[in-house]
């Protein structure tokens, strides 16, 4: 293996007056360009471990290597400017505009105004915020999710090779969290940073991690492997217990919609400009109960049933008023678990799959997911992963 981006060598933290170490001689190598998750029960020392990497907490003993360089004793302020840092409380400066917040590290590094401004706009675009609209706002004028995006942008400002993230999405509601996680994974696809990510949520760990370190008290590494390997071979009873109920459902979080076969011809589709007559013909030909109306950008708009078409007057009416709006819509990169949830919410038992631009890419049904589960169980070494009795 080539030199890891970050290597911890017997890194230890003891606090005076406490028995045992908060972090007890942890050895861990974090490969370049991967998201490494530190996950464990509260009090296991995962945050202490993270904060020793940028020396917000000074280690008692042991060493930290960044790209092979021993940084255990370098100037901590200089070291931190080489690592992005995102925390749960975000910690935006309330008295500074969004642009000033993002420009914090570039300013310290002495970038000129032109370069800084260009970078701020680029980053705002990257995290999905319109620069002209948000650049001059103050943090209090933004929602929690938007602030967290700015927090991520600020950490990436000087393009550090490493990002440290401490429960970055922990304070947001489940829907926002899901969205932020997906966005972050999309961004990471492009930027390929080495990310150390602390969470207490095993589901988040499985979803976000290229590699997961499950930590026991004292930051002892109970298992350090890919999510797939951890789910199929938990190394100890502690790991199994920490993974908790429903391992199979969790494994659905590992497979994405694009990994399974998305059916493209299962359901008939029709363009927005079509007449009711064409729609009826299409529906008859397919022998299905509903057809899917696509809008001008080929985005799924509505499910239209045979009964809806009967009601419309002789094919003259506008199709876009008929049927029901498409509710269950999943991205190609959504997890099978997410798709399953959408499916259960949708009356047809079908999730509509869209591509990156939001255009129709096919449909996914329950049978496909069940087949995927079968394959997972077959691939499992014991031939079977026990379903949780509950």
């Amino acid at each position: 293996m080539s030199e890891p981006m970050i290597r911890l060598d017997k890194l230890t933290k003891r606090y005076p007056g406490h028995d045992g170490a908060a972090v007890d001689a942890i050895d861990l190598a974090m490969p370049k360009g991967e998201i490494v998750i530190l996950v464990g029960p509260s009090g296991c020392g995962k945050t202490t471990t993270l904060e020793m990497i940028n020396r917000l907490i000074e280690p008692t003993s042991g060493r930290i290597f960044l790209e092979g360089e021993d940084v255990t004793h370098v100037d901590p302020d200089q070291l931190r400017r080489r690592m992005g840092y995102v925390i749960q409380q975000i910690g935006l400066f309330p008295h500074q505009t969004i642009a000033q917040n993002i420009a914090t590290v570039p300013r310290m590094l002495g970038w000129d105004a032109k370069r800084t401004n260009a970078r701020v706009d680029e980053l705002l675009h990257m995290v999905g915020l319109d620069p002209s609209r948000y650049r001059d706002r103050y943090p209090k004028e933004m929602s929690g999710g938007q602030r967290q995006r700015v927090g991520v942008a600020r950490a990436m400002a000087a393009d550090p090779p490493v990002m440290l993230m401490d429960e970055p999405f922990g304070a947001t509601d489940p829907i926002t969290r899901e969205r932020l996680q997906n966005e972050f994974l999309r961004i990471q696809e492009d930027i390929g940073k080495t990310i150390v990510f602390v969470t207490h949520d095993i589901d988040e760990a499985i979803k976000m991690g290229d590699r997961i370190a499950i930590l026991d008290v004292g930051s002892r590494v109970a298992q350090y492997d890919t999510p797939e390997a951890i789910l199929s071979h938990p190394a100890s009873a502690f790991v199994e217990q920490f993974l908790g109920a429903g391992i199979l459902l969790k494994r659905l979080n590992l497979s994405r919609v694009e990994d399974v076969e998305v059916a493209t011809g299962e359901w008939p589709t029709i363009d927005r400009g079509s007449t009711g007559e064409q729609a009826r013909a299409q529906l008859r030909k397919s022998g299905r109960s509903h057809l899917l109306l696509l809008d001008d950008q080929r985005r799924p708009a509505r499910w239209i049933g045979a009964a809806d078409l009967e009601r419309s007057d002789a094919g003259t009416g506008d199709l876009s008023g008929l049927g029901t709006e498409v509710q269950a819509c999943v991205d190609l990169r959504a997890t099978l678990n997410g798709a399953l949830q959408e499916m259960l919410l949708n009356a047809n038992g079908v999730a509509v799959v869209v591509d990156r631009e939001g255009a129709y890419a096919g449909t996914l049904d329950l049978d496909t997911i069940i087949a995927a589960i079968r394959r997972m169980r077959a691939a499992s070494p014991d031939g079977d992963v026990p379903l949780d009795p509950a």
Partner: protein, 260 residues
Amino acid sequence: MTALALDLDEAVVGRRQRTLLRRARFVGVPLAVALACLAMYLYVQSQDLDNIERRIITFANIRRAAGEQIEIALWATALTLVIAVPLGIALTRPWARRIAPIVIAVANIGQGIPAIGLLFFVYIQLVRSGSTATVLGMAIYAILPVLRGTMVGLQQVDRGVVKAARGMGMGKGEVLVRVEMPLAVPILLTGVRTALVLTVATAVLAAFIGGGTFGSLIISGQAQGRPLAVAVGSLGAASLAILADWVGGIVEDLLRPKGL
């Protein structure tokens, strides 16, 4: 989305109300003071003043009294700031966590002592100049609100903000100057404003030790049984205190960082 829109609306309404209130205060306070002084002027004009009254109640005397009082208050406030703000900063640093309560207790005692006693003490024991003694005494008296304002202002700064700043590689001094102090400013200024009003209002006591101020009009009027002189002196002192508060309010508005 709707919730956000509501929040923003509320913030906008709140801001609008605050702006209105600020404008009303900006014009209303000096106007009220001016009216009161004008009324007093007309009343004095309408009275038949005797010799003594004519000697005490003169424009020259009033001007000098106002000048002395403002000067004492400004020096005292400046001295207070120079002592209390750095002290407040020092006491909120992690290494001072243990001694902070002790210093606060001492400052509390400082304010608990009757102001007049403090003045006489400083005058008799330390300096033999009425106005210098007043400045010193007032400064001791006014340290507490500024010290409190500085400490509370710094302590209420969100720890997450400080942690994020340190985590991005800001040095401790830079965090203090660029993050902690600006965020402490609103509360710090409230303390300064209290100190300013306190010193302006109590500066009249300087008259007891020959420091002039509107107190001298009050004392002479009292000694010679001329209530009109007492009234003029009191109105002068009260007007100055109210205007000091008004100036303090404007300074607070001007210096409060945007975005808070």
